[in-house]
């Protein structure tokens, strides 16, 4: 009798067990209920674990150099005389140059080692704030005109700040408000939406084809995509921003790009940064 009772209880327990599921409900009215950032992040990490067995997830901060040995060897040699070094020096000089009111960037950013705080969702403003926006906010507070988002001055400043921030980790907070959740969801949607006449989403190259060759180039994993900016790209022959890379990616698939620091690109940066939470910041860097 006792044995039957135990068996019946065990059967009931097994029958009632359900696999752990994402808390996200795509049909929910509230964005907070529609998203599950931790489940997304775990799904992405699991995917790359299986796609690149033997490559520690943390190594993806180096992009394709995490899994392409030949390219890594060349890249490490270049790091002896990194092409972004001039941008760091120029950025340091700009950082130290006082504004007309006598204040300077240090009044907003201390020693400049602040990259780990960005991007974040500002509930008061209802939008994602990036480091580039924060630099221009700082300038506005001190009566200085904004720097163009596609200009070298802003890129050099952020190169210096990225250098100062090396060793920090990506640490984007879990979206806690409805507006923050909507921005996260919008970024995820951008990432997974097919665009342009090639009909490619970000995931087409950086998830489904990650690690494969596209002509002479190896396609990188999205994990670690945000850790190393700004980047000296040999294609550009200068240091450029993450949003400039977004712009180029959109153009490559035949889509009309969005403006740098547009809401669409900031939300995408917010989402991608959450995916890379825990990875080390190692900018600026060089890439082919």
């Amino acid at each position: 009798m006792a044995r039957h009772l135990i068996l019946a209880t065990a059967f009931a327990l097994i029958a009632s067990w359900q696999p752990p599921a994402s808390a996200a409900d795509p049909a929910a009215d509230s964005a907070l209920d529609r998203i599950d950032p931790e489940a997304d992040r775990e799904a992405m990490r699991n995917f790359y674990r299986q796609r690149f067995p033997g490559v520690p997830l943390e190594a993806h901060k180096d992009g394709v150099y995490a899994f392409d040995e030949n390219a890594r060897a060349q890249w490490l040699e270049m790091e002896d005389f990194p092409p972004y070094e001039i941008a760091i020096d120029e950025g340091a000089e700009l950082f130290e140059t006082p504004f007309a009111d006598g204040a300077g960037y240090a009044d907003c950013f201390g020693d400049g080692a602040v990259k780990g705080r960005y991007p974040y969702f500002d509930d008061a403003r209802g939008e994602v704030i990036t480091l580039e926006m924060a630099v221009n906010d700082c300038r506005a507070q001190h009566g200085e005109p904004p720097l163009p988002y596609d200009g070298q001055e802003l890129t050099e400043l952020t190169a210096y700040m990225a250098y100062q921030s090396r060793g920090q980790v990506v640490a984007v907070a879990l979206p806690a408000s409805e507006a923050a959740a909507a921005a996260y969801e919008d970024g995820k949607r951008f990432y997974t939406t097919r665009r342009g006449h090639l009909n490619f989403a970000c995931t087409s190259c950086h998830v489904q084809l990650a690690g494969n060759r596209l002509r002479a180039e190896r396609l990188s994993a999205s994990l670690g995509h945000v850790t190393h900016w700004p980047v000296y790209r040999f294609e550009w022959q200068e240091v450029g921003s993450l949003h400039r890379r977004f712009e180029r990616c959109n153009a490559q698939v035949g889509a009309e790009p969005f403006p740098l620091q547009s809401e669409a690109y900031r939300n995408l940066e917010y989402f991608l940064s959450y995916m890379s939470n825990g990875l080390e910041l190692n900018g600026p860097a060089s890439r082919k």
């Binding site: 799904a43 699991n46 998830v207």
Partner: protein
């Protein structure tokens, strides 16, 4: 008005014939301008959906250049291609309304 059916038919035939005789010859410049306007309208619609493609913008510019140069057939042909591509961009936007949720690694 005559009540004779034969006369009525004859009158109608003459009127239709006159109408045809006064019909304007095809105006290739107007056709090109109309095609460009349609392409611009569809391009704008795709942009409002956040799904603009780059090629239609290039083609519309090239169509305008051809119109200016008096190459009306070329202008219309480029504008028609731009309109078709912009239409495809709109269809892509509509399909992606739900399809984006099915992309790996997040699709359940």
């Amino acid at each position: 008005m005559s009540r004779n059916p034969i006369l009525t038919v004859l009158l109608a035939t003459v009127l239709v014939g006159c109408g045809r005789a006064t019909e304007a010859p095809p105006d290739p410049a107007a056709a090109a301008r109309d095609a460009i306007a349609l392409a611009e309208q569809r391009q704008q619609a795709s942009a409002e959906l956040g799904h603009a493609w780059h090629e239609p913008i290039v083609l519309i510019g090239a169509a305008r250049d051809a119109l200016e140069a008096g190459a009306y057939d070329t202008a219309k042909e480029r504008a028609d291609r731009a309109a078709a591509m912009a239409e495809a961009a709109i269809a892509q936007a509509q399909a992606e309304e739900t399809a984006w949720r099915q992309q790996p690694p997040f699709a359940s």
